[in-house]
């Protein structure tokens, strides 16, 4: 069968933005996912221009009241807290993206670094690092995150951290990031293990390149397509995790988060469904967007898997 592949499959085109470009060119899933993600990004950047209200403005409480139906002043109405629902949705996109990207920046860096070292070095280093990663895969993440959020917010009382805006949210991002690296590390390790045995890596060693050069210019770029897929998935996961933490009542009281909107409004779902359905919908399309994008990237990275 190898004889067929040569003529039938277009060989991967390693141009700039190659993976993304191919994802958008060839995968409907990828295009839809990218569209959803771009929508959220645009909402996050420009959305606040569309609303006259500050993110935590409860002034509606003194006017139209909580759970108000849509009006000229409040296009989607207000929620149980007297917030303008549209405003909360728009600002919530920022939180979601900051959480998603921030957490994955941490987990991505840590995962690639640790997985890369494990995969490249192999042997005992690999053994120790991967056992360590497995520990992170099996601990009950949410319980630990909730505990740490609690303990830290107590511990910083009276210190400089306290004045930091969105400290609580930052801790949540850090924790999601710190607990999200293990799958990335495993993927990176696997890719490194696979790629380092490929002949072009050996060729680079024969060419006298140093370990660092080999990792950075030979192995990593070739491992990246698989890692990017996982990262896109993890962004969605991180956004969902923050929503869940907020939904459990451990969110940052100062941040505007869709999860928190859900938390405060789900009990009045029957009274005013918009207040819970709208943030639920935003979480849904954001996570869906990143997951579809990941699917598309995955298709683009493995053209053969798509064809079968």
């Amino acid at each position: 069968m190898t004889s067929m592949n040569d003529s039938i499959d277009p060989v991967a085109r390693p141009a700039r933005f190659g993976l993304f470009g191919r994802c958008l060119r060839t995968s409907m899933t990828g295009r839809v996912g990218f569209g959803l993600v771009m929508f959220v990004v645009i909402v996050a950047i420009f959305g606040p221009l569309l609303t006259p209200y500050a993110p935590k403005d409860q002034s509606a409480m003194y006017a139209v009241g909580a759970n108000a139906r849509p009006s000229a002043d409040h296009w989607l109405g207000t929620d149980r807290l007297g917030y303008d629902i549209l405003t909360q949705l728009l600002y919530g996109a920022r939180t979601a993206l900051v959480v998603g990207l921030g957490a994955v920046l941490i987990s991505g860096c840590a995962g690639i670094l640790i997985g890369g070292i494990a995969g490249y070095r192999g042997g005992w280093t690999d053994e120790v690092l991967m056992r360590f990663a497995e520990f992170f895969l099996v601990v009950p993440i949410f319980i630990i995150i909730l505990a740490v959020v609690r303990v830290l917010s107590k511990a910083v009382t009276g210190t400089a951290f306290e004045t930091m805006p969105y400290f609580n949210l930052t801790v949540i991002i850090l924790m999601i990031g710190l607990f999200g690296w293990a799958p990335i590390a495993r993927m990176t390790r696997g890719e490194f293990l696979r790629i380092k045995t490929l002949e072009f890596v050996q060729a680079a060693r024969c060419g006298g390149q140093s370990g660092r050069q080999i990792v950075l210019s030979e192995i990593l770029p070739n491992a990246f397509p698989s890692i990017v897929v996982l990262i896109a998935l993890e962004i969605g996961g991180a956004i969902l995790a923050e929503a869940m933490i907020s939904f459990l009542g451990f969110g940052d009281p100062n941040a505007v988060s869709w999860g928190q909107m859900l938390y405060f409004n789900y009990q009045s779902l029957k009274i005013w469904p918009m207040a819970s359905l709208a943030p639920g919908f935003m979480i849904f399309i954001t996570v869906l967007g990143f997951n579809l994008l990941a699917d598309g990237l995955s298709d683009a990275a493995n053209p053969r898997a798509r064809r079968r």
């Binding site: 420009f46 221009l49 006259p52 006017a63 759970n67």
Partner: protein, 584 residues
């Protein structure tokens, strides 16, 4: 804030100019207040009750409007409970608390403010976590609780109310009404009593649609109990379950009249000076085990609560009422004579009506350390009780004199089961013969259960007020009760700004006026609480704006003096200015 809100159109017009500057989007927000804050409050919000989370947060934001930095956090109740129990009145940064909010009530029908606010009730043993220690309040509470003269007591209470209204030690946000939805086929729910808190009286319930001799009813309770021994608890979640099992000496006739009538006591008579009391007990009352109820059981109950080894939550009021065990004696098996060291309102208000009498023959052998773990506290297994005539009785939980006999915990249904006591000493009117208390969490869930016919009523913790419009007549009948409680924001009155005032500009300038400055700050905070809006928006109108710690429906509430406190940020700022704070 409410008036200068730009409309969307105005805003969009202004955007034309501002857009250029604003198109550089920032993902990191800037801190809310640029100006140096006047002071800092740590507002800790219990994360277990969303309505309260919302209004507490709203109050925090309004306080921030006064130029105060409000550091808000959502925390589990246990966190604040441990923080406030410190002995020194530490502020939040020192490990204590600054401000939180809670629902609270007197554990008797009679207002007993000294239990909550007297200097004598400072933690760790008392409940005055806030460290209210104003001389006038102190004097008024003292007079009220120790004077046998009803006239003097009424005046003292009035003084208390006025003084509180003037200096606002804590801020009453609103007096809630309890809203309860019941099975439309349930009659007799109004017989429900509230002693020390809400508990149902299913012996008077009639399910009109039921046929046959065995009628079962179920009651939903939000939180699972931690102990079912009455002397360890005063919470809804627990008295819902043990309430129907025990009796006290006096009980409340109905919620309408709020009149105490004899229960295990047949009569209670007092001397002129209110110091010597004669209690005649009802004869022929039987414990569930078949043992006769006598004065020994009352003495045993009081002795046990007074014994510090048992660590009862009722220990402190009993000690302050009786002083010691010397205060009472058994005159005959059916008569007890009580000689109080000094008059105390607590005797009538709490000892007679709120202390469930425990069976000596069944409980005396249980040591202090075993009490909370014993079957009488858990109902999860059984134990054998031997009566004085040598018979044995297998108890599946507690042993009481009440209309319901515990039948253990049904783990499948997460329900405590009881069967009707056929030998109950009092006439009952209902047809229910089997009663369950079910643990259900969440207002939506409880209404679904009611709709599905799984429960017939529920406790008031669910706060279903905002959901009333979703209840349909064919499956839910909505009843409202005056809750006799209030929701308050609690301040730590040892705080250097709003407690003692020493850190206010005025207090620094003139230390003798520090306390006065603190009053200004607290008044300012009180005017920053949008009580009407909270009632209208968050509890669907089921409540009245709060003023002082006195149920608004109590006779003792002075409606002439205690006018609602208006939400007025300008007034609040001018009060802050009186304390020396400046506004640009």
């Amino acid at each position: 804030m409410s008036n200068n809100q730009p409309t969307r159109r105005e805003f969009l017009q202004r955007v034309g100019i501002g857009a250029a500057a604003m198109t550089v989007p920032t993902v990191i927000w800037s801190p809310a207040h640029a100006a140096e804050p006047h002071f800092k409050i740590y507002l800790t919000i219990f994360n277990n009750q969303q309505t309260r989370m919302i209004w507490t947060d709203l109050i925090g934001k309004n306080i921030a409007e006064l130029g105060v930095e409000v550091v808000t956090s959502y925390v589990p109740p246990s966190e604040v409970i441990s923080r406030r129990a410190n002995e020194t009145g530490a502020t939040y940064t020192e490990g204590g608390f600054d401000m939180y909010s809670e629902r609270i009530y007197y554990s008797t029908m009679m207002p007993l403010p000294d239990v909550l606010f007297s200097k004598a009730a400072f933690p760790p043993f008392g409940k005055n976590f806030y460290r209210v220690e104003d001389d006038i309040l102190e004097q008024a509470m003292e007079t009220y609780s120790s004077s046998p003269d009803p006239q003097k007591r009424a005046e003292a209470l009035k003084t208390f109310e006025h003084r509180w209204y003037d200096i606002q030690p804590l801020h009453m946000v609103f007096y809630p009404e309890d809203v309860i939805a019941i099975n439309p086929d349930l009659e007799g729910f109004d017989a429900t009593t509230y002693n020390p808190v809400f508990f149902p009286r299913p012996e008077n319930w009639t399910i009109t649609s039921a046929t046959g001799p065995d009628v079962s009813a179920a009651f939903a309770c939000w939180q699972p109990p931690t102990t079912l021994v009455p002397m360890y608890s005063s919470g809804y979640n627990e008295s819902n379950i043990f309430g129907p099992v025990y009796n006290s000496l006096m009980e409340y006739d109905s919620w309408e009249t709020k009149k105490a009538v004899p229960a295990l006591a047949e009569s209670v008579t007092a001397s002129e000076d209110g110091l010597v009391w004669t209690i005649k007990l009802r004869e022929g009352v039987k414990w569930h085990s078949g043992e006769e109820f006598t004065a020994d059981d009352v003495i045993y109950t009081w002795d046990t609560i007074l014994d510090p080894a048992y660590a009862s939550v009722q220990n402190s009021p009993l000690v302050s009422t009786f002083g010691s065990k010397e205060a009472y004696e058994k005159v005959s098996p059916y008569e007890i004579k009580v000689t109080l060291p000094k008059y105390s309102i607590l005797f009538e208000g709490l000892v007679l009506t709120s202390i469930s009498i425990m069976p000596k023959h069944a409980y005396a052998s249980i040591g202090p350390e075993e009490f909370r773990k014993h079957t009488i506290s858990t109902w999860t297994s059984g134990f054998t009780v031997t009566t004085s005539d040598g018979r044995t009785y297998e108890a599946k939980g507690a042993v009481g004199t009440g209309p319901w006999i515990p039948a253990g915990f049904d783990a499948m249904r997460k329900a405590y089961r009881m069967v009707k006591n056929p030998d109950y000493w009092k006439e009952t009117t209902g047809n229910v013969t089997e009663f369950f208390v079910v643990n259900i969490q969440g207002a939506d869930a409880v209404l679904s259960a009611l709709k599905a016919g799984e429960i017939d009523a529920h406790d008031p913790m669910y706060d279903i007020g905002t959901l009333v419009s979703t209840i349909e007549e064919d499956w839910g009948k909505v009843l409202t009760f005056d809750s006799y409680k209030w929701q308050q924001t609690c301040l730590n009155l040892k705080h250097p700004v709003f407690g003692t005032g020493v850190d206010t500009p005025l207090g620094k300038q003139d230390p003798s006026r520090a306390a006065e400055a603190a009053v200004y700050v607290r008044q300012a905070i009180s005017h920053a609480i949008p009580r009407e809006q909270i009632i209208k928006n968050l509890i669907a109108g089921y409540g009245k704006p709060g003023t002082v710690p006195m149920p608004v429906t109590a006779e003792e509430y002075d409606h002439d003096y205690l006018k609602p406190i208006p939400y007025d940020l300008d007034l609040a700022k001018s009060l802050m200015e009186k304390a020396g704070y400046k506004y640009a």
